[in-house]
Symmetry: D2
Subunit: 331 residues, 4 copies
Amino acid sequence: MQFTSDNAAAVHPAVWKAMMAADAADAPYDGDRLSRHLDETFSALFGRECAVLWVATGTAANCLALSALVAPHGAVVCHREAHIEMDEAGAPGFYLHGAKLLLADGDDAKVTPRTLAAVVDPIRDDVHQVQPHAISITQASEYGCVYRPEEVAAIAAFARGRGLGFHMDGARFANAVAHLGCSASEAAGDIDALSFGFVKNGGLGAEAIVFFDGEAAKAVRYRRKRAGHLQSKGRFLAAQILAMIEGDLWLENARVANAAAAVLAAAAPERLLHPVEANEVFFACTAAEREALRAQGFAFYDWGADAARLVTAWDARDEHVSALSRALAGL
Amino acid sequence: MQFTSDNAAAVHPAVWKAMMAADAADAPYDGDRLSRHLDETFSALFGRECAVLWVATGTAANCLALSALVAPHGAVVCHREAHIEMDEAGAPGFYLHGAKLLLADGDDAKVTPRTLAAVVDPIRDDVHQVQPHAISITQASEYGCVYRPEEVAAIAAFARGRGLGFHMDGARFANAVAHLGCSASEAAGDIDALSFGFVKNGGLGAEAIVFFDGEAAKAVRYRRKRAGHLQSKGRFLAAQILAMIEGDLWLENARVANAAAAVLAAAAPERLLHPVEANEVFFACTAAEREALRAQGFAFYDWGADAARLVTAWDARDEHVSALSRALAGL
Amino acid sequence: MQFTSDNAAAVHPAVWKAMMAADAADAPYDGDRLSRHLDETFSALFGRECAVLWVATGTAANCLALSALVAPHGAVVCHREAHIEMDEAGAPGFYLHGAKLLLADGDDAKVTPRTLAAVVDPIRDDVHQVQPHAISITQASEYGCVYRPEEVAAIAAFARGRGLGFHMDGARFANAVAHLGCSASEAAGDIDALSFGFVKNGGLGAEAIVFFDGEAAKAVRYRRKRAGHLQSKGRFLAAQILAMIEGDLWLENARVANAAAAVLAAAAPERLLHPVEANEVFFACTAAEREALRAQGFAFYDWGADAARLVTAWDARDEHVSALSRALAGL
Amino acid sequence: MQFTSDNAAAVHPAVWKAMMAADAADAPYDGDRLSRHLDETFSALFGRECAVLWVATGTAANCLALSALVAPHGAVVCHREAHIEMDEAGAPGFYLHGAKLLLADGDDAKVTPRTLAAVVDPIRDDVHQVQPHAISITQASEYGCVYRPEEVAAIAAFARGRGLGFHMDGARFANAVAHLGCSASEAAGDIDALSFGFVKNGGLGAEAIVFFDGEAAKAVRYRRKRAGHLQSKGRFLAAQILAMIEGDLWLENARVANAAAAVLAAAAPERLLHPVEANEVFFACTAAEREALRAQGFAFYDWGADAARLVTAWDARDEHVSALSRALAGL
């Protein structure tokens, strides 16, 4: 029973269906009928003009988005637990040509204007010091916590006040929106670019980079090709994304995953290390307890010596969730 | 009737089937059962130890392979019509951190030891001059021509003699092998790394980087992730590749494409600009003739003012090929 | 008797004097009194607002200047004999993060709107092709030839019409101005940035990057430090440059060098491969003739099998020039 | 009375003399008589084979040295107060093509095997995590403290055990050796490369990169030119360095600076924030106290809100040092 990650879950049947429907040859790269429909689809979803590029992975989405906001001699300010810092093998350094990540603190892997200021304000406008060019936050955060619209707004105001770009890593943006019960636009707020994830939510290999500033998107079209991310059969990536947006499948899938996490959280509320707002559950446990769970057939990651991480996905099976819930309660 | 490119052709049914069979969640990235089978499969195919990494595109395959052979202060020697020079948006400059491409001549987009020497030999061992670190050739070439094993061997000898790495861009390696009627190993010769293409030959979005030196592959595993090319549902890329290798589907598909090109070539032999050895036909024609062909429903690329390019794929339909053949003969 | 290069000539006494006068400790980097005087000095010289940064070498000057005009995914168009292409060890690839050099033709190592168009115009606005972002020309050219103001103006018009930046490598700008007998401003024309060379003209290790667009200079101040080119005792670089500008020493020195080259050119006019307009003489000669000259004590570079290059400097000694002139005439 | 930094102090008369003696034209770049003497000079000094390259700045020295030890996908482990992290404008990111700096703790800006292990050991051999490739320490440290030979040896053993390269930033290496009273070789220990600083110790603009592995130096010769750091009149850099080594001027100058710092330290021992072992004094003081000192004519840097930094140089004047000593005692 898999609770290791949502990143290797099955592909949703509607995604398969849309991909196969796209089989007939069309124009290569992003010249096909489906890819050309993305801007319109997301503009409708967000209620404002969007320029949208597909790529296969979240790392590529994050780094290409940031490449529009950060010069090689600049820096991105992000949480010290941010995916771009911890899990992308230095990809920002590659895509941004050596730009730095400056690390901010904050509970639940969420930054605040205060923790951002603690990083940004001591930096003198002095050529010896790397200057911040943009802020990147993760919605939902790496600890499965969600920025509320007013929190995003406060960070956006901070960014504007300091002349910084503002990017959102939305690998689990769907889970955040499902939790907030608001619109996609309200959950994103006044950002410049969003990495809108689908792979963890029922897709196969397609994420959307959503630019709310069309000018920024232009250079990234060149950079995407230059990074080897312009697939020639791009219609299959567009098909996945459109299938997820259509009929709000992205929200429906996220709700399933979030609900499963809530069930698990409810089983051992006193053990939770972070509020469970999306589809991740971090809970305190001993090595012996982890062993006991694994002996019952549950797969998951250790989180240091005294904790573990459970992740639920769109394809969570009720009986698995119930079984794990009981096991947690019984620890 | 599409003769524009093989890069947007349909996906072969066996590939779809293999992908869907891989749907059940497995370990993420390349830890799944299928990805872990790649080294063995290719080692069997080539009759020597291989280390194999999947990526989604030929550009990523070429550039990651070259990153194992070329330092940032070095250069790749390639034909001046090479895909890495002409069509990859400067991706080698990105992946190799500013290394140069040094351009060699040669008929049919094929280099020879003589044309390579004309580039390499005038370079003094002087820090002011960028030094060559590797050679890259394309099999089949950008003009649809195939290096014979003895030609590859001569280039390999040149590379060894000069202390240079040797990479082969095999976006249409299958077409080359089908033409030669030899083994994969004979067609590849003594190279260090091969970009083995599947997308143009019935795949959806998966190419194999085949290293014949396991040490070189090690750093590239890090570089692949760093470039955002390590897909979390990598099992679907491995599935495509294994489906293509199984039962020699790769060869079967390439034979179909090559045969269709041969039919077209035979229709207007006096117009051919290059020998037709793979699945591309370059032929002289006027703008009026191109217009006439398009009026009959044929899609293809112009090739400068006085020529055109036709590309056939694994899904070439006999009636389309026959129709175009008649149209060419009737020009 | 040295005619190898002007790049290793002695340092002018006025430069030494200015350096020693700057010995007393002042603010580090470019915060000292002399460095802060550069903008004003060059603004007066060019008759328009300048922002000026010192660096130690022409390669750093060229590449930092270009970094303000060219994005990593773009290209510089330059002559195929340009110093940035031939002699800088791939420095543009390093500083521009993999941007390409696109090579144009032209007599005497000079490009023209026609030869530039031959490179630029075939490039489609297609993400597969590297797009030009700037033009770089060398004044005087690598063959010792000088762009006349109307030639620069025509290239500037071409650049503006295509939306391209325009950089001038002025390693021998002084020699060009001395030849033209015009103002510095007329010789530079409507460029965005100039690498104004002093090392070949009596300096020790200081060149000026002159930006005619202050905004562009801002980022380059960060990039200069990031490249390790912000010397802490920068006052000694500023001192060199100011000493060269003061009393038009730069022009005086260049006139001496140019005059010496003219004497040599006059000795064998029928052998000249290029007009001798600055301080370089390229002349046809056999290996035996070169040997004969060297036997008489003259040092210089071969230029391929059938030619040689002579370079004169500000410290050319009349008796050496006369001796070589006689020897050339006597070949 | 300047106590701001040693980086803008005057140039030692012996250095001026050596530079002027090098004025006569010699071979350009590092082909001159003096540059060719460096390997031998340093091999004698360190009692083992060295390959030595000059550059103008410590930032260039550090980053070029590290470029021989760290691949673009790797990382350097250094103290979180290290100059390469704090004061070089992201230069390591530029020179190492996006490699990361991983930050270790330690008193007095010195790392230990324990603090290094705290950074290195949690890193799994997993492609998602940036792997350490080298360690860099600063001798003397950024807080003016000196690694004793046994401390360097322990770090070297740690590096060897983990397969990591080992670099020493010796911007104030002379001050460290002067403090230790040992040989240069003992103070450097078993490192791969040393940035041996001269600019802060009486030089004008020349530092030595000393490689104890000749193979590593080879690629760096290309990289130095590619970074625009190969000055054409390199003889003037070699002259500075040789003048400093000759007769142990480097040690003599460092002793003067260290002695001055010791005088200052003795004036207010209870205020010291770090042991004063080289030529830097960090001491606790209020804003009012700093103001009082400045009112008496002393220039220095604040160090946060509650401290200040004093730096002494080879040209420290006794009367200034005495005056400041009295002022400190009288606070």
